[in-house]
């Protein structure tokens, strides 16, 4: 998205999507997927919610949810 | 000539007679500080000496240890916290350290506790007009509190008093009435410069130094005369320029410390002798390496000086930067396994492990001993036998998987790298190119460590002066006798301002001339001003002001000179911006005796080495280095590295790929041989 209206809700939250699986480090089954900002920028991670081990870290978009409209010109698509 | 450098551990008295340098080293004694000085002078003889030049760290030590007399501080009501505030900034390396405290703040160790800092009802505006008249009754009440607390001196600094001293002077009269005769310093007399904090802290230090130095100086003068000394007793200030002792005691904040600056002054004298005006001065001491610059034959001087972080005084001082790489700097291992040198130091006591005085931490000196650079039996003229086994044990005790050879060589090379980076930084700060500079290596350990930096730095060459271990002390016999004064007035330089500027200079010059003796015509007058581009919050110091009367035609020239100086220092020119004069300075330089370097006659001396040494840890295989006695070398001698050149108090290490040549006054000039990598 390139333009964001002010959120309607007064307080905002990040959704953590539960996923099935087992943590290879602690053996727990409490896994979730969500975006984080860490070393190297934005990542979409699958993490153990008990020991915080990352099972997967996939690089997220450069500016998070923000995509400047001008960048679309080379992708041949709008917003 | 005699000079004395009163240090924390030793009092060094240095004599130069007929080009011969002699030293008497007497243990310092904080309880009776004058006694070792007199003892040293007695040993070397005072009769017939024209000058006795004195430098001391006594004032600085009193401040740093807070062994200070109790004084009061009077300021404009509402502003007594200027002394706990400073200029506010924290050191950059403590920026995310919530445990850091301002050393002179009320939460740590204030020079004057808050209850002795009292506000007085009065207020001047920056144009000198009175917003609130001095309330004498209220002032007396504040003075009565100081009397009840039995203060020994009073510092007075009112806001905007650099413009008008009336209120400060009246307060002094009231103080005398209430408190009787005791040392009082007024900011309008001590340092009439704008910006209240530095002026106030200068005034506070001034009163403290009056109390610290007065009896000492009087005693020193009396006892020297008793010994038969008939010359001048001079005190060196923070820039190692000299003042007759009575004059120095009128504004003793200037003599709070003089040690490091003396080395730079010594370099400036060497610059004249060698006709090489651009020098990087590196003094490798016990706890640190001090780096300073001589440009165009003169030390680079700052207009302020910090006794501790942000504890500022308005003293002209030689700009010296320190890096924790001295002989006693401790070698340690970081959490991630790096070999580190300094900033912690074993100091003189217990000293390096090899001294055998109970120090068990390895130091740079221990590394040099293990490498074979130091002669265990010939250290400090044989005064101290160094124990190789203790040095080895100290390095072996480090918690690291690195082999001994690497621990030692890393320590030596990292110390050299740290010094090299500091040299680059000070050069960048002053916009100079190290390639145009020679590096002077002094301090007893300087010639042993600094040639290694030639491999990292693009300097012209390294110069090891005669007697590198005494070189700083000799600086006291190389200094100018200088009377100086300064005051502030914010003036945007333009038409109609010549009168103001001229009046400021005339007043200062007349006072200085009266002091020196109006009839003297052999004095040199140096004028300058600190100015700023309108809108800047800091000043560009020491813009030269021409001689002669200051009139309407001088003002455009001042503006032009400001732009020139600004461009020279900072690389940019802003001719469209108005220039504001802030502080005006005058120096009267009086001719005085200085040390002369004796020319070395070329003689047919052998450059054959005394023996061949094995140097360890510098390369995979031991290096075979020639060992020379410095006194056997003569002008023109060449020594190819790797080589070690010994003298009583120092060792010079000529690195592989370098060559040392002996110059006209016995200095060693070290350069990289052509094609050396």
């Amino acid at each position: 998205m390139h333009a964001f209206p002010r959120p309607e809700e007064e307080y905002l939250a990040v959704e953590r999507a539960p996923v099935a699986g087992t943590c290879p480090e602690c053996g727990g089954g409490n896994l979730a997927e969500y975006p984080v900002l860490g070393e190297g920028g934005w990542w979409n991670v699958r993490k153990c919610q008990d020991c915080l081990a990352s099972l997967e870290r996939e690089r997220g978009p450069l500016f998070g949810v923000y995509v400047p409209l001008g960048l679309e010109i080379l992708r041949g698509a709008g917003g | 000539m005699l000079g004395v450098d009163v240090g924390g551990t030793f009092t060094d008295v240095v004599s130069v007679r007929d080009g011969r340098i002699e030293v008497a080293k007497v243990p310092s004694d904080p309880a009776t500080p004058a006694a070792p000085v007199i003892e040293g002078a007695r040993r070397l003889g005072v009769e017939g000496r024209p000058v006795f030049n004195h430098a001391s760290t006594m004032g600085l030590n009193a401040v740093i240890t807070r062994r200070l007399p109790k004084i009061g501080f009077l300021t404009t009501e509402g502003h007594r916290d200027m002394l706990t505030m400073g200029t506010v900034w924290r050191p950059l390396d403590a920026q995310t350290d919530a445990g850091w405290r301002r050393s002179f703040g009320d939460a740590a160790r204030p020079l004057v506790p808050r209850y002795l800092r009292r506000g007085v009802t009065e207020r001047l505006l920056p144009d000198g007009s009175v917003l609130t008249p001095l309330d004498e009754e209220q002032a007396r009440r504040q003075l009565a509190v100081l009397a009840r607390c039995r203060v020994e001196g009073v510092a007075i600094c009112l806001l905007n008093a650099y413009v008008d001293a009336t209120h400060e002077k009246r307060l002094r009269e009231l103080a005398r009435e209430v408190l009787g005769e005791l040392p009082i310093s007024l900011s309008s007399e001590t340092s009439p410069l704008a910006k209240e904090y530095a002026r106030a802290s200068t005034t506070v230090v001034d009163v403290l130094m009056k109390l610290v130095y007065a009896d000492y100086a009087t005693e020193l003068d009396r006892e020297l005369r008793d010994l038969g000394f008939a010359g001048e007793l001079n005190f060196a200030d923070c820039a190692a320029t000299l003042l007759p002792w009575e004059a120095a005691l009128e504004q003793p904040f200037r003599i709070v410390v003089a040690g490091p600056a003396a080395g730079t002054v010594s370099c400036a004298r060497l610059a004249e002798t060698l006709a090489d005006g651009n020098l990087i001065c590196c003094d490798v001491g016990g706890t640190s390496t001090d780096v300073s610059l001589v440009r165009d034959f003169r030390p680079i001087v700052s207009n302020t000086f910090e006794l501790e972080h942000d504890l500022v005084i308005n003293a002209l001082s030689t700009e010296v930067r320190s890096v924790g790489a001295g002989g006693g700097s401790i070698v340690s291992i970081s959490a991630t396994g790096d070999v580190l040198v300094g900033p912690a130091s074993a100091g003189a006591d217990p000293g390096p492990a090899c001294y055998g005085r109970g120090g068990d931490a390895p130091t740079l000196t221990d590394a040099c001993l293990l490498m074979g650079l130091l002669d265990p039996d010939g250290f400090a003229g044989g005064a101290l036998r160094l124990d190789v086994e203790l040095a080895r044990a100290a390095f072996e005790a480090l918690d690291t998987p690195l082999p001994l050879a690497q621990r030692v060589s890393f320590a030596y090379r990292i110390a050299a790298a740290n010094v090299a980076e500091e040299v680059i930084d000070i050069a960048i700060r002053h916009g100079v190119d190290p390639r145009d500079f020679s590096l002077v290596a002094y301090g007893a350990a300087g010639p042993m460590l600094l040639p290694a930096t030639l491999e990292l730095l693009h300097v012209k060459r390294i110069v090891v002066p005669p007697h590198p271990g005494l070189f700083s002390a000799v600086g006291l016999l190389s200094a100018d006798l200088v009377y100086s004064d300064s005051r502030s007035a914010y003036v945007v330089l333009g038409p109609g301002t010549a009168g103001t500027v001229a009046a400021v200079f005339e007043e200062m010059e007349e006072r200085l001339r009266r002091r020196v003796g109006a009839d003297r015509d052999d004095v040199e007058i140096r004028r300058s001003f600190d100015g700023r581009l309108y809108g800047q919050s800091w000043e560009t110091p020491f813009v030269a002001v021409p001689e002669g009367p200051i009139d309407e035609e001088t003002i455009p020239e001042l503006v032009e000179r400001f732009h020139d100086e600004y461009e020279r220092r900072f690389g940019n020119r802003f001719p469209m911006l108005p220039v504001q004069g802030v502080t005006y300075r005058v120096q009267l330089v009086v001719p005085t005796d200085k040390v002369e370097y004796a020319r070395l006659e070329p003689r047919d001396a052998s450059t054959a080495p005394r023996r061949t040494l094995e140097l360890r840890y510098l390369a995979d295989e031991p290096l075979h280095a020639a060992e020379h006695e410095r006194e056997t070398l003569s002008s023109g001698s060449r020594v190819e590295g790797p080589a070690v050149i010994r003298e009583a108090l120092s060792t010079t290490f000529v690195y592989p790929g370098q060559v040392a040549t002996v110059g006209g006054v016995g200095e060693l000039v070290i350069e990289r041989t052509a094609g050396a990598d």
Binding site: V36, G41 | G78, L92, A107, P401, G571
Partner: protein
Amino acid sequence: MEATTVSTGATLIRDLDANAFLQRYRCDRFTATVLASRFGYVVEHMCSQLLTTAFSPILRDFYDFAATVTGPPSADYATPAVSNSIILFTGTMTDSVRNTVEEYGPARLEPGDVIVANDPYRTGTHINDLLFCRPVFHAGELVGLVNLKAHHLDMGGSVPGGFSATKTNVYENGLVLSPRALYRAGRPVQETWSLIFDNVRFGSFMFPDMQTICANLELGERLLLETVERYGAEAVLGAIEYVCDAAAERMTLALEAVPDGIWEAEDFVDCDGIDDTEAYRVHVRLTKRGGRAEVDLSGTSRQARSCINGTALDAKSTVGTAFKYVLDPRTPFTSGTLRPIDVVVPPGTIVSALPPDGAVFLYWEGTQALIAAILRAFAQVLGDAAIAGDHGSANLHNAGGVLPNGTPWVSVGQCGGEQGAYGATVDGDADTFTLSYQANGIAPAVEATENDAPVAMLRHEIVPDTAGPGYHRGGSGVVRDSLWLQPAHHYAMPLRFRVPSGFGVNGGGDGETGGVWLWEPPADGVVRQRGAGEDDYRDAVPVTGHLDPETHAPSRSGEYVWFGREPLWRTQPLAVLRYVSNGGGGWGDPLEREPERVKVDVRDGYVSVTGAARDYGVVVTGDPDDDPEGLAVDLEATERLRASRREQR
């Protein structure tokens, strides 16, 4: 790239043998050590040169810039050295260089280029902070970048200089520069220079500063190239990795020393520049497991309607700063510092605002609440090592007007509540007169301020009994009274008075809140000093604060007064403006503070006789004003008072 989690069972770097070290870092340990300090020195040398040559006071006095050495894209822009300059820039530098170069296209870079960018949503901080990146090539390969971000005097927009709490969108804020070339192959790109200088005020000052910055980058490039030539590109790249790994390892080990747990905390920004109906909450949920941590900002308020927002990169930077304060205060910051920490941040909050309506300028006000919330969360587990809250806001004040002769004047950041309290720590009582936890700088002298603007500073002092009490006392509130000698208008933007920002820790008390007031010119024209007691505010016009409606003095039970009800506060000659900043938090139980130390505080005016009894349970007798050395502690009465205080708990 390397794995981005630290496996805590891995061999520590210090225990690697020579071979393993060489394998991992392509150089030996000595070279790695020398290069580690070399990277630090390269940025330090760049800063030295910039400080020496910059025109702009904000660079000289507030170090409002940062320099970095950054690895090439193949090393994922690993950043081994960030200069010790403004704390606010520290953590955004790493991401902003990556984002800028990636958008511009690393393949387009060639030797002698300089890329410039300033969009907060891409590079963090605010639009006046221009980021300059210069690629460093060796033997035709991109081996790294040297970078500098520096505050510039103006970037256009509706407020000269930009400092304001009232701009409502990116269009008012000023010129946005997406990454573009400022130099290509050593030659200036004319249209970029024109784009900038056609849109900014004070261009004639900014122009040489920008040239200076470009010269600085050349110095950085030269120093880095010399290093590559001496040690080889492989060793340099290996050492970059080494430095970042070392920082990550230090943080991991420090985290391992903290007990595992989950802690939540929050802090607040009073309001925005539109009205006072919405206080902005920053909520933190801190999870710590072994050597890893996660900071989740869910529960944080949506972005403000005017430019007090920060971006997600600022939130990340602040998390890094908070963790440095708590766990690793003295070592240099690198991109590896944050390796064991993930930040979970919902888009569109006050600390992760989005365009075009989430305007960003006073970004540090929101992130000050964030650092406070993190410190509050840590305080629940750290015990002795907890850090109390500071005065919390920049409390920036700007004013301006026109002299009778027609000359305009401005006063910038000289007369507000910029300097205030720190929070206490295990190390002792806190300092007063500092900038906030995310800033540092030189305060203007009163005499310089009075030369710049028609103002007389009547008072700049601590206020008794405002420090958070504790075994170690917090810093105090600071009162600053400015007397305006000419008609003036004032921009006030204080944002942390609703809730005490100086929270106490480990049993310590909160510092008092402050406020801003105005006194109209006195009818008789006589200037008087005013006290800062409860009864001194009745005749004042409250500008802002949480104040008693009757007395106008700060009060927890009072009500919030909003500064924005006047967009500009106008004053006539001899009006007095007062700022009082918040007191800092105390550390440890005040009833345990040695009575002698309380007596010293009474002697020195940090605490009153009444305050000593109320806050510390210490009964001090005597007259602190007239006979400060004659004070005494009534030990028996103190014992009794403290016993009854403990019972009341």
